[in-house]
Symmetry: C2
């Protein structure tokens, strides 16, 4: 189908289609989000108010089951940071949206009543179905009901109770290829924006449609072959298939950068008990529903996802990722994966960002609302979120909110978004990314841990972060997973040829970095209009003063270096 | 005594004195605060962290019991707004500080332990006394204990439980001339900053000192006579003596600008029951400890303060001010003064800003945490603040926090500080002040209700607000009460002659506006360095969309006008 912009007005309950404006055509995914917002929305608007818009933009390469390249970007103004927000996820939503011809979907307006709705999209257009029966349900219960109602060929993006409560750590869950609601566009509170529009779920029914036509099929297929071959040949592809993202736990701990007890240390004495190696051994030994190797989207050759089962062989959580292990394991002083998986499951079901909530629980432990190491205590706090108590709501708004309300000084946030599982004092290039990314603290905006540099030396980290940020903004605009980079980096020209084969236009020799540069420039333009300044591009003050054991490092990349990244 | 800068290091527990730098000499009160902070403190610092400084600066005219001109400014970086903060109060603290020769007191550093202290200041310097016995006490219990310990000639600035908990609505209470802790530097959370320094109280013992010498006594006394005569001749002086600030309730309601049920209306059907006239009649009828006319500082000829007693003749609250009646009366739908006075008393005792908490309770009522009109329900919520429960802490951080946590859209704040008791949709010049004042929403930064203009017409409001803001910043720098302006406005040259008579230097023909202009320029410079932009100089979005009954006005002063105020 011809690609179009789908506009959803939740006030009038209409869904209309429009041609794609010229300025939007060569953007997609993350890069298209600030472009649309700058064109259509006042940057100063209330993110949960009637002027706010919620965007769904498949990446440029989405639609053809290219390995790791069918990711969905969701975007808008973040109720957590107050700035631009893009959160992306695997699963099947983007693929099926592209099959319907959706270049971008813009959800706008304020609902006229308090009822909840399912937005149903198909080749016949869009409609609003009542969702009263789904209100308050976690995603693990809501998704099967939706599949029973709409058939199991649909893709679904949905929110949990956290999104309904408009909590700032609420994300948007998507079905994976096995129809589990496990692929969350997690960060920055976009689930709250969806909740403010009173949409419990978006169902994408691709019946009667197929993949969009390629402009130059042979060029495309040739590039695809080169990319896939390069990806399969990369040693990290095997590592991630076997251990998932948790492969990095031991490495990060070795650098003294594993968040431990609310970022008070970078080494966890029990790291081996929560490592990727232990996780794999445990999954294999227990058998049953557990699986160490699982693909989140059709066609992916990496398959870094997993399914973690309990001692009875029954699934607890899928997936169990490194960031969750870091933030809900070592960061809470919790040394066993069963506890981590149980907390993870609850947060997934509520439809929330495990990084933000892990960090929030760490601050809560510092405020003596739970004990470090107490998995049951953490689950009790998570239960408060589900109940919507005042304490639960505080936690559900993230680490910054917990610190503010309870007067804790050691709060790991930038632009009010939680720092992920790489302490920036010991991995300083990633610290530059946290500080300067328009997205707030986010490792996926430019992780530097694999660079062969002295991560403790402040010199050169700004340049390192800049390259990583440009690359990642490029991948996010393509709809490519961070691990797709293993292939693209060793298949020169593949991105250019894939885009030319798919669309006919030439993105040039430096397609990836050019897309990344444009994306970041647009994002920074949005943030400036929203009121951000250089003062926002800083790590928390205490991280510049408080040494991190065991390296005793502080974050000491100079302010001039931070301000120079995008100068 | 020679005026000096007193520097208090709470880490080393030292108090040292320094000569006044040349650039600080012709500033005082509000104007001196941003000057010191720009010279000494990174504007981006954590307001509750070790780099933050808390300032006490008597106004330029303080020290000679000039009517309404012995006010104390307290300042620092606001934990509520993240920007510059000055809050001023009457009482006796400033007068006695000046007698000790204190031009400015700078409290700095991070405490090394968890103990609480009394800072004792006298002609022998400063010392730290243990305050363990005062921890957790409200100001009504703590103040008499301090007076018993230090003698009844001292001035005291102290915090209540709210400041100890570092809540963002915590202020700093000061003794009035009758030794009641009733004069609060209320706004912006400076009590939390004092709490972060672990100072429960500051005791100022002036024994052995006297008023500083005048440079030209006859010039000063002549100017004083002109000013006092003008003040006594002004009709408003009589009005405020009889009715206090509550005189304005009926007028504000008449304009349709009286905050009613969380700013959802501008007229309160029961306004007559909470008016200044009713208050005066009630106080006089009940007799006992009640008193409709009371001076907060020695020498004041206006005496706008009061003491409100219950039907048994026993004092409930002193003073009961218009802002409290507006925010805790009509704004909560509460139609009897006894309830308002009881809530007021609790908030005073906790050491908090009644405007911020009144607005917070209004938002809480909208979130269905209490019912509008239910005084007992409001007192139950206030009890949560005292107990330090999660809900209490949310409330104690102010209206913005309540709105954020509970997802309420109608939240009356600018720069996260609550709007006071003049709805800006119906008094648009004051709306311009709320939007553009570096202090956040604050009527004392430039109230326009008395101007003879159409308050509903957006035209010309920016210029009106600008003049009011310059005047008020000038008065705050002099240490003059807002009502002192009734006298200064009709005694030309009095300010210039008073300053020349006191110090010898010539502040020029436009002394008031020049001081105001310099003050505002410094404050804006601080805020810019802290990361503020034009995007922060706006009223909440909903106030531009939601009509206010009965006038059905929205706030429609154009953004260009707002940006032009200080351009």
């Amino acid at each position: 189908m011809e690609q179009a912009v789908w506009r959803v007005d939740v006030n009038q309950q209409t869904v209309t289609t429009e041609p794609v404006p010229a300025g939007w055509q060569r953007l997609g995914g993350r890069g298209l989000i600030p472009r649309i917002l700058l064109d259509e929305m006042p940057a100063t608007c209330d993110p949960l108010g009637p002027l706010s818009k919620l965007l769904f933009t498949p990446g440029l390469l989405v639609g053809h089951m290219l390995s790791s390249c069918d990711r969905l970007s969701v975007g808008g103004k973040s109720p957590l940071t107050g700035g631009i927000k893009e959160a992306n996820a695997g699963g099947t939503t983007a693929l099926k949206m592209v099959q319907l011809g959706i270049k971008a979907m813009i959800v706008q307006g304020a609902p006229s009543g308090d009822d909840w709705w399912v937005l149903h999209l198909s080749q016949h257009g869009g409609r609003f179905d009542p969702a009263g029966d789904l209100v308050g349900l976690g995603v693990y219960e809501a998704a099967p009901r939706l599949l029973a109602r709409y058939g199991d060929k649909v893709a679904i993006a949905l929110i949990g109770p956290a999104g309904e409560m408009q909590l700032s750590a609420a994300g948007i869950q998507n079905l994976d290829k096995d129809k589990e609601p496990s692929r969350i566009a997690a960060r920055g509170g976009l689930g709250a924006v969806m909740g403010s529009k009173r949409l419990k779920a978006i169902v994408v029914d691709p019946a009667g449609t197929s993949a969009p036509e390629l402009f130059d099929k042979s060029l495309y297929l040739d590039a695809k072959k080169r990319y896939t071959k390069a990806l399969l040949a990369h040693p990290q592809t095997t590592t991630y298939a076997e251990y998932g993202t948790a492969a990095i736990a031991m490495m990060c701990d070795g650098f003294g950068a594993l968040p431990t007890r609310n970022f008070s240390a970078g080494h966890f004495e029990a790291v081996e008990q929560i490592s990727g190696e232990t996780m794999r051994d445990t999954i294999l030994a227990r058998g049953g529903e557990g699986d160490p190797t699982h693909a989140c989207m059709p066609g992916c050759v990496i398959r870094c996802s997993n399914c973690y089962a309990g001692s009875d062989g029954k699934k607890i959580s899928s997936p169990l990722e490194y960031e969750t292990i870091g933030l809900m394991g070592s960061n809470l002083g919790i040394d066993n994966l069963d506890d981590v998986a149980r907390i993870n499951r609850e947060i997934n079901d509520l439809g929330m960002d495990t990084i933000e909530i892990g960090a929030a629980l760490g601050v809560a432990a510092e405020a003596e609302l739970m004990q470090f190491g107490d998995g049951a205590g953490a689950l009790r706090l998570v239960a408060e979120i589900r109940q919507g108590t005042p304490l639960g709501r505080i936690l559900g708004h993230g680490a910054g909110m917990v610190g503010k309300v309870f007067g804790v000084r050691r709060v790991p946030v930038v632009k009010n978004q939680a720092i992920s599982a790489y302490d920036p004092r010991a991995i300083k290039g990633t610290g530059v990314t946290y500080a300067t990314s328009p997205q707030g603290a986010d490792h996926t905006a430019g992780l530097t841990i694999r660079a062969k540099v002295d991560h403790l030396d402040p010199a050169g980290q700004a340049a390192l972060s800049k390259t990583a940020q440009l690359n990642m903004a490029g991948y996010d605009t393509l709809g490519a997973c961070i691990f797709g980079g293993f292939g693209f980096a060793t298949a020169p020209g593949a991105i250019r040829d894939l885009l030319r084969g798919q669309y006919g236009w030439d993105a040039g020799e430096n397609a990836l970095q050019d897309l990344g540069r444009e994306t970041l420039a647009l994002e920074r333009e949005f943030n400036r209009a929203a009121g951000f300044t250089a003062a926002d591009d800083r790590l928390p003050e205490w991280m510049t003063q408080e040494p991190l054991p065991p390296t005793q490092a502080v974050f000491d990349v100079p302010a001039e270096d931070l301000d120079g990244v995008f100068a």
